[in-house]
Symmetry: C2
Subunit: 325 residues, 2 copies
């Protein structure tokens, strides 16, 4: 089993690599080679007996993708991309990385002719307001960002290239990943993780939106589970509609805070300070709320079932199972 | 008023040019210049006092789009594209013409910075089976052809470029255009027009599918009306969702034939010979049937209301209002 991962230096990439290193296998076969690519050098995992290669560069540059495919990977995880805020701020870079880079990889696979399983991380950003109360699987994508547009176009390519037999693609639309480990970032969605992560570390966190905001979350651990399941699922069972909205936990911010109180106590939850920010609120208002995700659940993709579980996953995976204070 | 038309040598392009020549105006302003582009030389209409320029070439070729925009057209009709069958048979050509050509034009407009109205002809081929009984406006596009995929990706670009203010785009998803004038072609959809056009000309026509097949049609005259309305409509009223499913007449093949009997008599309708073709039937089975098209109707896009009207439009526009025999 030879595996290629693009975006290997990112948060999800690193967690996927750690999981593959722990499992040692994928699709029931021992992993023999791991090709890791990113725009910056990815970290090589300790995997004795596995041929690990590191690649750096811009996927959209001419010829960049050919060397990645020389070893004919059985499974490709295409995670590479720049985030929403960056793609909105830099129009050319967003289309170059998120669309042209993806198309270059897809075309290289097409021309190589060995038709591997290809798992692509799309996003719920392909959807844009206004929404029904529950967003069904057959709701139309009308993104309100260039990032969402690039993901939507990549999904369309993935479906057509799969239909044509160039590869066996599965696109997974990730909900907001929460609790994101690491430092606070400037993403508009940052507070969803911040109001959990900072208080658990004994620090104050800012809540810039009303407690009534409803949003769908899955843990980093679930994101990795989605990727593994997408790599292993029988394509014939999925059928021709290859882009799937992943399940998650739909909760209001108020319910997030109640879960934090239950899991870590009210002294921790008190570290959240409400400080309304109209700019963030204006962005968040256009985001999707609750998804049906019926198809993905039926296909065996599973997320947490409560926000308490999402907080506990963070405490186990990032805090060595210990609470601060 | 300066107007640019790509795909000017095609059937819809020629009819649009004839209409503009007749009206002499668009958006309430006298037409002063007409730039016509196609891969083959378009025909110059007789428009005294109008500066008509003809351009030929491949929109996706480097630099090809810049000269088209030198005169800063107020309205661009982007009709250029290769048809479904050709895009399916020739993968590279389809993506080059239908996606790269469109993106090249859109980017040239973006870089020119004058933000014209841009009307793009998309297609109901962005939708793929299975369908609900009536396909709602917010149904997800899951094309089953590379052509449909290219149209879907172009729609996504149009929406994002409009949101960013690069141009003021309207995408119109055309239903099957019927009755197509001219000779029979090898398109799988050809029979929808053939079973009307050939009998009206006193010739036999083959019906390769069951009479129960339900499909949505609009006349070439309606297609031109859609284009003109899309050029003139207030973008603010349309809002951010810029790709619109056009209205049409949803009828079964049996109802088409009954309409032909009513309009032209049973001796004409008797020229239709049923000769089932499993290959065509397999393709047609995956096609969309009936659309709600609520938004486009509310926005003032109007098609025929009966198939009788569609046949009469053909007799008026193509047969000098005369029946054969």
């Amino acid at each position: 089993m030879r595996v290629l991962i693009t975006g290997a230096a990112g948060m999800v990439g690193r967690k996927l690599i750690a999981r593959l290193a722990k499992d040692g296998q994928l699709r029931g076969r021992k992993i023999s080679a791991l090709e890791l690519h990113d725009i910056v050098a990815p970290e090589a995992p300790a995997m004795p007996g596995v041929d690990v290669s590191l690649h750096t560069g811009d996927l959209a540059a001419p010829g960049a993708t050919a060397s990645l495919l020389a070893a004919r990977p059985d499974v490709i995880f295409h995670l590479a991309g720049i985030v929403s805020g960056e793609a909105e701020a830099n129009f050319d870079l967003g289309y170059r990385v998120n669309l042209d880079g993806t198309r270059a990889l897809f075309d290289a696979v097409r021309l190589a002719g060995f038709a591997p399983r290809l798992v692509f991380t799309s996003s719920i950003a392909v959807f844009g307001a206004p929404f029904p109360d529950v967003i069904p699987d057959d709701f139309h994508p009308t993104p309100l960002t260039s990032y969402g547009t690039q993901k939507q176009m990549s999904e369309a390519l993935l479906a057509d290239y799969t239909r044509r037999g160039f590869f066996d693609g599965i696109g997974i639309r990730l909900p907001t990943i929460c609790v994101r480990p690491g430092k606070p970032n400037k993403a508009a969605s940052g507070f969803f993780s911040g109001i959990i992560r900072e208080p658990l570390a004994g620090q104050e966190a800012i809540l810039p939106v009303p407690r009534s905001v409803l949003h769908t979350h899955a843990s980093p651990r679930s994101a990795v589970n989605f990727l593994i399941h997408a790599a292993e699922i029988d394509g014939a069972v999925v059928g021709p509609r290859r882009n799937l909205t992943m399940p998650g936990v739909a909760v209001t911010v108020g319910e997030q805070i109640e879960a934090l109180e239950r899991v870590a106590g009210s002294n921790v939850a008190k570290l959240i300070r409400e400080q309304p920010d109209d700019t963030i609120w204006a962005i968040v208002k256009g985001w999707p709320t609750r998804f049906e995700a019926k198809r993905s659940r039926e296909l065996g993709f599973a997320a947490e079932t409560s926000f308490d579980e999402i907080i506990r996953a963070h405490i186990e995976d990032e805090l060595d199972n210990k609470l601060a204070g």
